[in-house]
């Protein structure tokens, strides 16, 4: 420690203050741990852990408060974690589900922590869950403890996407491609539908064109392969695609941009139930 009479340079003064702060946090943590261990009702500790989990997943926690809380809950502040937002399948208990995901509601097994918030199992883990998961879990990317709210936002979007596409198991945000964007950006989807589908009108032929379009883009814009899939003559495919280009004023020759915009519009239509009776495709964009 610096003696009070000794002149202290700026850097040394800051280090001295920081060292003092660390000591205070250690004392707070020790006191809190002692309090928790002496607590006759385990539910108090459970509640505190749940509050800690909720704080780091939903908010930007002040660094000093985060450090002391992490110490209390035995969470390593020097490593990165993946976040989870999950829901067990009907008929399966949340504790069994949490264990399958590598989460513990009572202790930080392997460095992660979990809690139940608004019916969802939420938390953070050190590695991607392996094995069978009976339910659905959205998984966010690795982030340090102070930035877990960023990751958790993506875990939430992954769970939402999985729900909408009726997926099960662990759904990692980074593996969902463009699906989360298509589901959330309704304005872009609506604008593209207006541009590419409205000019087709509302006839049976328009439905045929759209189905041909979907198959044509899935088949790499190869007319004979598309014809095989649809059981029609290749010239029928070419005619319908030419009709689409004529009615909308776009061309698939040249840049691929138009084809990608149409793919997005098709997914938007399917995802938002604009075609009654048509099931969303399973493939992820």
């Amino acid at each position: 420690m610096t003696r009070p009479t000794e002149p202290v340079a700026g850097g040394r003064l800051l280090r001295a203050v920081a060292a003092g702060q660390d000591e205070v946090y250690r004392l707070i943590a020790r006191a809190a741990t002692a309090h928790r261990d002496g607590e006759p009702h385990g539910h108090t500790a459970d509640r505190e852990r749940a509050e800690f989990v909720r704080d780091v997943l939903w908010t930007t926690v002040d660094a000093a408060r985060l450090a002391s809380a992490a110490l209390v809950h035995a969470v390593d502040t020097d490593r990165e974690y993946l976040t989870l937002r999950a829901r067990p399948a009907p008929g399966h208990g949340i504790d069994e589900f949490a264990r399958a995901l590598g989460l513990s509601r009572s202790r930080a097994d392997g460095g992660g922590l979990g809690a139940v918030v608004n019916g969802h199992l939420v938390g953070f883990v050190t590695s991607r869950p392996r094995g069978t998961v009976r339910g659905v879990a959205g998984l966010g990317p690795a982030r340090p403890l102070a930035l877990l709210h960023e990751s958790f936002q993506m875990a939430t979007r992954a769970l939402y996407t999985a729900d909408r596409r009726k997926m099960t198991g662990v759904c990692e945000f980074s593996q969902l491609g463009l699906l989360p964007a298509i589901l959330s950006d309704k304005a872009t989807g609506a604008a593209l539908c207006q541009r590419y589908f409205k000019p087709l009108g509302d006839t049976d032929f328009a439905v045929e064109i759209v189905e041909t379009l979907r198959a044509y883009l899935s088949c790499g814009m190869h007319a004979p392969r598309t014809a095989d899939v649809l059981c029609v003559h290749p010239n029928t495919v070419r005619y319908r695609i030419a009709k689409f280009e004529e009615l909308t004023g776009v061309t698939f020759r040249g840049s691929r941009t138009a084809s990608f915009e149409v793919l997005w519009a098709l997914e938007h239509r399917a995802a938002h139930g604009m075609r009654p009776g048509s099931a969303p495709r399973a493939a992820a964009l």
Binding site: Q153, L178, T188, L192, S218, R256
Partner: protein, 247 residues
Amino acid sequence: MVGLSPGQRVRVVRDLLLGEAGGDDRRVEAGLAGIDTDGVYVAFRARTRPGQLIEEMVAELILGASPCGDMLAAELDGDVIGLLPQAPPSVTVGVVGVGPAARPHDLVESFPLASRAMDAAVAFDLTGVHAFGDLGLLPAIVADTEVGEALWLRYVRPFDDVKCGAEIVSAIRAWFGCGMHVDRAAAQLMLHPNTLRNRIARFEDLAGVDLRDAAAAMQVWWALLYGASGLAGNRPPRSRAGSGAMV
């Protein structure tokens, strides 16, 4: 849209575009301001290029309005925001994003799209007037930084550490720009077509992707555009489109 004091103009614009007044109040206020409440207008958001004055943008917008001068505008965070009977024909001093046409009291839904159009135009170095509906997927690429970052990290960033990675990524970019036609892209890059085929194959091999698959090709195309927008690697917060609640 005449006869209002500068302070009244700002208040009307903010109420109509930012929704600082309720729906019924907006309708009444538009009428009192001399705006045709049954008419159709577009919301816009404009940003000048560095070195250009905001007054120059306002002057261009007023001159381009039809009827001339029929514009209500205010300043918001250094941008010009406002409403016009129709999209301005052109501007030279910066970029203008335009939302879908709507009645005055419904422009509160159009304005966020005007802002997104301007953001996309700025990110991709476009100038002039751009309607949200004409920008295709560019506003979505700029708005959803979470998806863009994930795809960029998966498909583009790894090539920074690969021998000739920059050439491989440039080849893929040019190939997409030429509608995935090898001969045209090779001519543009001044490469032999087989050299380009080799780079495409290298990309597919290293990225673990089959670019003949339309969905996979779209993800790579998105990642390349996100990288070109200047947002990649910065991990900014998701834009004004909002968190999980884009309009």
